[in-house]
Symmetry: C2
Subunit: 335 residues, 2 copies
């Protein structure tokens, strides 16, 4: 019989915080990452919860992320907030930006936050969700090291570049939370197949010549297939333009890897738009969104984006989260 | 030997204008539609150029669009422009909104335009492109009558709902113009296969039970397949939330058809975001975008979104556009 440790969300946050600080992260940088780690475990996204903390710690140690960075904020225009993360954690830079973004969006109706010289922001939908909690409609974009080739090409130009939209439910949550990357499958799935000596479906990835492959080792030398062909590349390009070109961050083609310890800081970017839905819709937003959600929920077998995370969060708040003992051991190794 | 009539862009605009006015459209509403018609022919998008004018005329005649509508503008917040199209043409409503949106985006750094009680806006990328011509980064969303079911469902909830992003080249044009719908294929292609008695590929559409079909007649009773499965539905949902819920327009599920004469005005919506790229990027936008475009263009066989339209436009400005005689006859029928 195996015993699986169950942790409360506060315990998860505290553990993540202590590991990050032990690795050399300042209090101001460790707290937002620890808070996001607990929220991500609550949402049931195991890959980016505690399992990611040892990677963060290692990246602080090797200098891929500056644990002591002090992000700096500027207001280049009345409705725009810009934050230079100065190669520190994205979370602290985004938090600093949100403090200005939220009241600005309420005053102006719409506001933008551009974050540059940043790092992997973890689960993008965690950040947009927090804007929805504040009653704002949020769209977020973040780029990642290049792994997807444009259709017809062989060389990767864009990353798995996710976008996220969070639509507020008017009651401190998100009625809809879209959070999706541009590839058919996460790269980690291909790495897992390679480790286990399994073939991959031909629609997952391309070899270095741009042809479909079922060999995960060859796939890792080639590129990830975009979800939805050229239209998937179109979405990834939108994200790239918003997260990198519109922020002055580093393009995916020039960004150092998010994994491993080589290459220095990736200096990627995040871009957020926050809109007051009552203002743009003349007060009709809540009713329209409720009907849209109901049209989906009425259909058996249909999933409303965000439902899974919300259900997991409610469960986690009541019962805590079961944590993989191997993960726990790795995190504890940093204390 | 067949002679194909060649028309200049001015001649196309003039012809479209006269047909629209003859059908009962006011000067103020006919001019923006005629201008878009010429631009769309210039861009090589035959389906939405002169071929669409007889449909516009018929819709003015039957009341699906009010040819005499006077769109009204309001400023519900400093960075937000809202326009009620009062069931008139989207083009006039968008033009009225852009007059306020463009200076607001320059002053505030970012601005939003919400258009409600609107109609089919033609090619969405025509509108975002015009914002790029003004040096602004533009994102646009528009919804359409429901034709795509959420994955796992059987009933359509969202339309082919396109989004568009236009990135300015700083020289009066767009360096990148993304303009894509959410379905694998345009519905008109399925209708064409039905007329010609041809089967369709199984990935194009679903039958009324939500299963793939190769019979175009059955497909037309079912739903359109989303490009990229659930991620394609996610993109269409983002568009639906922005174009309908965020504007107070009619949801796709409640919108009357864009085709035919039944059902009255569709009252759909458009949402545009305009951002000053120099402001958000600290002046780095142009360089970043140039490198991104070059990374794609260097690869043989890769198409940069917008290249096709730009090349067609340059050709059309020099040599005019070859117009299908049958289309010309139909448009002339309205004079």
């Amino acid at each position: 019989m195996t015993e699986v440790p169950i942790m409360t969300l506060d315990e998860i946050e505290d553990l993540a915080y202590r590991a990050l600080v032990a690795a050399g992260t300042s209090d101001a940088n460790a707290r937002p990452v620890a808070r996001a780690t607990a929220a991500t475990e609550a949402d049931g996204i195991v890959s980016h919860g505690l399992a990611y903390v040892p990677i963060y710690c290692e990246h602080v140690r090797c200098g891929k992320v500056d644990g002591l960075a002090q992000p700096s904020l500027s207001r280049p225009a009345p409705s725009v907030v810009a934050v230079d993360a100065v190669t520190g954690f994205a979370h602290a830079a985004i938090d600093l930006g949100f403090e200005a973004l939220i009241p600005t969006a309420r005053d102006q109706g719409v506001a933008a936050l551009a974050v540059r010289n940043s790092y992997n922001c973890g689960v993008l939908g965690y950040h947009t969700w927090r804007l929805a909690v504040e009653g704002l409609l949020a769209i977020g974009f973040t780029n990642a090291p290049a792994s997807i080739a444009p259709v017809g090409g062989r060389r990767a130009v864009v990353g798995t570049n996710p976008f996220s939209l969070a639509a507020p439910d008017g009651a401190g949550g998100a009625a809809v939370l879209i959070d999706q990357s541009a590839s058919v499958i996460a790269k980690s799935e291909i790495m897992k197949h390679a480790r286990e000596g399994l073939l991959i479906p031909p629609e997952w990835a391309l070899d270095p010549d741009g042809h479909p492959t079922t060999d995960p080792e060859i796939a890792l030398k080639g590129s990830m297939a975009p979800s939805g062909g050229y239209k998937g590349v179109g979405v990834a390009l939108m994200v790239e333009i918003m997260a990198a070109a519109m922020t002055g961050a580093t393009l995916s083609v020039n960004a150092s890897p998010f994994s491993g310890t080589m290459g220095g800081p990736p200096k990627t970017g995040q871009f957020f738009l926050a809109v007051d839905p009552g203002v743009t819709s003349g007060g009709l937003f809540a009713e329209r969104l409720a009907v849209l959600v109901e049209e989906m929920r009425e259909q058996k077998g249909v999933r409303v984006p965000g439902d899974g995370r919300r259900a997991a969060r409610r469960r986690a708040e009541r019962k805590g989260v079961a944590v993989d003992p191997a993960t726990l051991e790795k995190v504890n190794g940093w204390l």
